[in-house]
């Protein structure tokens, strides 16, 4: 038989663009050079799915505590409270003096004197529901809404009250606000740190799985080397496979995580902190990034593992 016409010609190199193109689209023939199944495939899928599920909760925690910190900071900063403590014979007059001072204070709205029922509500957590407010020397509380924070001078008002009504104390909630906001911020940082740990653990597991796959495919690598495959070409075949597995597993894990978050009790129904653990508005889009981040982690981890291992063998 006559010798057939052979391909010849120059060999087109595989650059990074080709790598990205093969990841996103046509990489079918290159993919097939790695045997299709194995334990590492299931391990990668499971690890990526489990980590994505956890990442959804860490992300939800981080976003929820961020919202909580903002809400606490805003709501407590929008009002100040003036507490008037005086003998019963003088308290009415001193309260009226304070009200007049507050009405004349720039940057604030109409001061509101809390009635007995509201004060009883505030005391209920400490004294129970049947507290006899009338019988107790309870101070008068005046709530003062801040309309324009730039016009409102807390220190100036405090000095004026000290001068004109010494029994009146201005509380701008700083003492309460700071530790609450600080706690919420730390919880938010904990959520972000958890996300980083999850990403690092995912990278470690995918690296181990990729190394196991490379070790198990020694013959494939030997054959490819013999016929002139570059390290990047061999690595790409593994990278494509692990990146897709990581993305697929993370996609499933993210969907399950989001369903679990949706299934949590509604905040309005119980009012507990944990029920605020969820996504709102644009926050849902952050969750959709998890499979993409998982794919990127899978890509980088496998590429690093493959090129390192291949580089160690001539």
């Amino acid at each position: 038989m006559k010798l057939p016409k052979l391909s010849g010609g120059s060999v087109k190199g595989l650059d990074l663009r080709a790598l990205v193109a093969s990841l996103t689209g046509d990489g079918a023939s290159g993919d097939r050079i790695v045997p299709p199944t194995g334990f590492t495939a299931q391990l990668t899928l499971f690890a990526a799915g489990a980590m994505a599920f956890l990442a959804v909760f860490a992300l939800a925690l981080s976003l929820a505590t961020g919202r909580l910190a903002d809400r606490w900071a805003e709501s407590l900063a929008q009002t100040v409270t003036v507490r008037v403590s005086a003998p019963s014979t003088e308290i009415e007059a001193q309260t009226e003096n304070v009200m007049q001072i507050l009405r004349a204070t720039p940057g604030v709205g109409e001061p509101r004197l809390l009635d007995d029922a509201e004060i009883a509500d505030l005391l209920t957590p400490w004294f129970g529901p049947d507290v006899p407010v009338d019988a107790l020397p309870v101070p008068r509380l005046i709530e003062l809404p801040i309309i324009d924070a730039s016009d409102f001078d807390t220190a100036g008002l405090r000095l004026r009250l000290e001068g004109e009504v010494p029994n009146a104390v201005l509380d701008d909630h700083t003492e309460w606000r700071r530790p609450l906001v600080s706690a919420a911020s730390r919880l938010q940082m904990l959520g972000i740190f958890s996300l980083l740990l999850i990403a690092a653990a995912s990278a470690a597991m995918i690296t181990l799985a990729a190394r196991a796959a490379l070790a198990a495919n020694g013959q494939v690598i030997r054959v490819l080397r013999l016929i002139g495959a570059r390290d990047i070409t061999i690595a790409t075949a593994f990278v494509r496979r692990f990146t897709r597995r990581a993305a697929l597993g993370a996609g499933v894990g993210t969907v399950l995580g989001l369903l679990a978050v949706i299934a949590l009790p509604n905040m309005e129904e119980s009012g507990q902190f944990l029920t605020g653990l969820g996504f709102q508005g644009w926050g849902w889009l952050w969750a959709l990034l998890i499979p993409l981040v998982a794919a990127a982690v899978g890509f980088l981890a496998t590429r690093w593992a493959a090129l390192t291992m291949l580089g160690q063998v001539r």
Binding site: L3, P4, L226, I234
Partner: protein, 221 residues
Amino acid sequence: MQDAGFGYQGGEPLLSGMTLSLQPGSFHFLTGPSGSGKTTFMRLCYADLLPSSGRMTALGQDLRGLTRDGIAALRRKVGVVHQDPQFLDHLPVAENVALPLTISGQPVDMAAMRDLLGWVGLAQQARVLPGSLSGGERQRVALARAVILSPDLVLADEPTGNLDWDMSMRLMQLLIELNRSGKTVMVATHDLNLIRATKAQVAARVLRIANGTLQLAGADL
């Protein structure tokens, strides 16, 4: 190859003082007793090993100066057939033959693939997995894979070591055809009958490795 030598790490030099130049389009046999270093010599030729001493160039490139990618590029220009060829066992014959194209990002021309498999007599086995092939069929698949990129140099290391006489001659016929198409061919073998039968059809030089050195065998073969 100029005064090239090679010794495995921690051992005595296996080969030394080798000087040789393969002319394009030539046909060479490499012979010598088992363990004399024929396979080591072949591995040096496709940069699977690098010479411990001396200088060695292939297709105009100094092997010791090649990067990893350079070595890969060289191997795409050198077709290699082993005594026990290795394949990707999960891929059918046609895809194994097409591997050099796949890894270099070139499209597979199915008509050319059919011609190539027909040339080695395996057109009917295109979709068969390598595990079910006979020894002779495996050698011919390896030869088809080795030549699909139209390499300038074809190296065959004991390609007929596991084959009967008829199959050996069939394989040698393919190598002779390659040589007639302008390829440089080197076949390592210790089968003198095979060398004599081949020399009846093609002008071939016979090199012999003995006592760690490369010698030109005479017309006695």
